[in-house]
């Protein structure tokens, strides 16, 4: 009899023949799950005299916490920033597809858009648990419109905004409300932005700095007021300069309040950041690195032209560029000095994990934590996600030694498995 039922009647699953990521190490140990959460088997044994109802043989695979993507704009033809009447089926479609990349929770991201789009799209999506239907929604990541003109990247200039009436009111007016928002990216050099940073943080919304020409002091002031993330480090910000490191300087700033960590997003697709730059950032501040896909509509689609927010983009291999406004689009030259505006990536999260490990030379554990533990800590949800501690949600990804996804589980239930 599996248990004396003194604590629960529910079925107990034991994952065997696996290596699990626990205490920052891959350990040869079994993983126990009950009622969607990781279970302490020693307590089960001694307190409940219980053992497993069901065994899942992992055949030597690695079990890591499910990946968490805090910056994803769409995929498989879906563009979250497109104001449709049925945003939720688009989000659900992507949520289901990304399970195969090992992503079990994500923040649907909207690029700079007019108020009408926000007012239409935001109310349609709520924070929700994942499951067979797809990865869990942690809340929106609103990237813009309160960003810098000089660093707009692929964002449409006509919809950028500044804080006019005194900060948070502008935000409310632009977005229509702050429910189901997990994160906001803004430029801290904008007048009135610091009070907005403070207010958003007080409401439990993560504030990220990005698409900005802020200097280091402005960035540090924002961190002082609660900002805790940098949106796609190096991209859409001033380059590192040895007398004013700008936002990049936050990685080694001594002004970060004690006990707090500044996290930074890295698009580790081999394109957005030169591997040498990735290594510099990683070595300077390894515990803050958060892998993001910044995936766009075209992720998962074949090469060609697709829409992103209010703009049109062109796919070539793993590169995605802003298409010219004129119909005759010039093919890219091989000259890397030519300015071509990148606009998001089409690499999947598991590709990013593999690339990050390869480019940085980091350990398997570090690569996995950059996609799970770190984003969970960033969003303040590490008490239940991003790790395999007893009591955490059993959102899991089974991987082979090369970190290819073999299967994905949410709340202990298998939601995707690689075909033969």
């Amino acid at each position: 009899m599996p248990s004396n039922k003194s604590v629960s009647d529910a079925a107990i699953t034991q994952f065997i023949n696996c290596r699990i990521l626990r205490d920052h190490r891959l350990q040869r140990d079994d993983l126990w799950v009950r009622e969607g959460k990781v279970l302490d088997p020693e307590k089960l044994f001694f307190d409940e005299k219980g053992y497993a109802d069901k065994l899942v043989d992992c055949e030597g695979s690695i079990i890591a916490p499910g990946f968490i993507d805090v910056q994803i704009n769409g995929g498989y033809g879906i563009d979250f920033s497109q104001a449709s009447d049925d945003v939720s089926s688009g989000v659900s479609f992507v949520a289901k597809k990304i399970l195969q990349h090992g992503v079990t929770s994500f923040c649907p991201t909207l690029v700079t858009s007019p108020p009408a789009v926000y007012h239409k799209v935001l109310p349609q999506i709520k924070v929700s648990d994942g499951g067979e239907h797809g990865a869990g929604v942690l809340g929106f990541h609103l990237e813009g419109p309160f960003i810098s003109v000089e660093k707009k990247g692929a964002h449409p200039e006509q919809f950028l905004r500044t804080f006019q009436s005194g900060g948070i009111e502008d935000l409310m007016e632009a977005y229509g409300g702050l429910d189901n928002i997990a994160m906001v990216t803004l430029a801290p050099e904008l007048g009135g932005s610091q009070s907005v940073v403070k207010e958003l943080c007080q409401r439990g919304i993560t504030v990220s700095l990005g698409h900005s020409v802020a200097n280091l002091s402005q960035a540090e002031e924002a961190v002082h007021h609660g900002a805790s993330f940098i949106t796609h480090l190096f991209n859409a910000m001033l380059p590192f300069h040895h007398r004013d490191p700008g936002i990049v300087g936050l990685l080694t700033s001594d002004q970060v309040p004690a006990g707090r960590t500044v996290y930074y997003g890295m698009i580790a697709d081999g394109i957005h950041t030169n591997p040498a730059a990735l290594r510099i950032a990683h070595r300077a501040h390894p515990s803050g690195l958060v892998l993001v896909t910044d995936a766009i509509t075209a992720m998962g689609l074949p090469p060609g032209r697709h829409t992103l927010g209010q703009q049109v983009i062109e796919i070539q291999g793993l590169h995605a560029y802003v298409a010219g406004l004129n119909a005759a689009y010039q093919p890219p030259t091989t000259c890397s000095a030519c300015t071509k505006t990148l606009c998001g990536s089409i690499a999947t999260m598991d590709m990013c994990v593999r690339h990050f490990k390869h480019a940085s030379g980091c350990s398997v554990e570090e690569a996995l934590e950059a996609a799970s533990l770190h984003p969970a800590k960033l969003l303040g949800i590490s008490h239940k996600k991003g790790n395999l501690d007893y009591g955490s949600d059993a959102d899991l990804v089974l991987l082979d030694d090369a970190l290819n996804v073999e299967a994905t589980f949410i709340s202990g239930e298998e939601v995707w498995r690689k075909g033969p």
């Binding site: 004396n4 079994d30 088997p41 020693e42 307590k43 089960l44 001694f46 409940e48 005299k49």
Partner: protein, 265 residues
């Protein structure tokens, strides 16, 4: 008494594990008739547990119809503490085998009433039909379980205050902070172990050599409580060469006679 001497720790662990395995198999345990096993903790039996787990994994043995009774547990240490004997048994043995959790008995050092807990434990052993084979170790001061020097040789399961030597020896498991080391423990008595049908004592390492000498070459004495087993009808001492360093050459030669080590097969 049998004294089985193996060349080193690994061989001694393997011999002991094989002996336990064979005894269980020969007993043919079933739902009507469980094999009751008394178990120790510490660094000495560690290798033996590893071997038993190997035998389980290769299908040589099942613990489905085995009931276990551990010798001791600290008082007042949270059960989940990494140094508790519950943690030791879970991590080094129980989690790797197929024993029914209801059949794995360990004294509860956090029980409301320690006296009652001890009496209940004796009761459970009696209800299980007594212990078939009690496996134990020996301390450098010759103690078995926590029956420190001066313990009655007919003692039963009870609360014991630990000797200063034991507390100091244990400090290394508690960050070398003497204040963190438990000062009391629940332990089976010498008498409790003597009641078992058969007793097997594992002794390895040169630091145990003097205790082994006192236990088998000198008289029965409550200052070296393991010596009580000189009066048990079926006792085996399993040791490595180093543990015999304080014995008379004559004793060792006698026990190393022609067929002394082959019984385990």
């Amino acid at each position: 008494m049998r004294l089985v001497i193996l060349d080193d720790y690994d061989l001694a662990s393997e011999w002991a594990a094989k002996y336990i395995r064979n005894r269980i198999i020969q007993f043919k345990p079933s739902a009507e008739r469980y094999f009751t096993l008394g178990l120790p903790t510490g660094s000495t039996p560690y290798g033996c547990y590893k071997k038993l787990i190997e035998f389980y994994r290769s299908g040589d043995i099942s613990f489905k119809y085995v009931k276990t009774f551990n010798m001791d547990e600290y008082v007042g240490l949270p059960r989940a503490h990494p140094e508790s004997y519950h943690s030791y048994m879970w991590n080094n043995f129980f989690k790797h085998i197929d024993i029914d959790p209801a059949n794995a008995h360990i004294l509860d050092g956090n029980a409301e009433d320690l006296e009652t807990e001890c009496q209940a434990y004796e009761q459970k052993i009696a209800e299980a039909g007594g212990i078939e084979l009690f496996v134990g170790g020996i301390g450098p001061d010759g103690h078995i379980a926590f029956n420190e020097p001066g313990s009655s040789l007919v003692s039963r399961t009870r609360v014991k205050t630990l000797a200063k030597d034991t507390i100091v020896a244990n400090a290394r498991f508690f960050g070398n902070d003497l204040n963190k080391v438990p000062t009391m423990a629940l332990t089976v008595g010498v008498g409790t172990v003597m009641d078992a049908k058969e007793v097997m004592i594992l002794i390895t390492g040169a630091h145990k050599a003097f205790a082994l000498y006192k236990a088998i070459e000198e008289g029965v004495n409550h200052m070296w409580t393991v010596s009580a087993f000189q009066q048990h009808p079926r006792t085996i001492f399993v040791c490595d060469e180093d543990a015999t360093l304080e014995l008379r050459v004559k004793t060792v030669k006698y026990f190393k006679g022609p067929s002394s080590t082959d019984d385990a097969e």
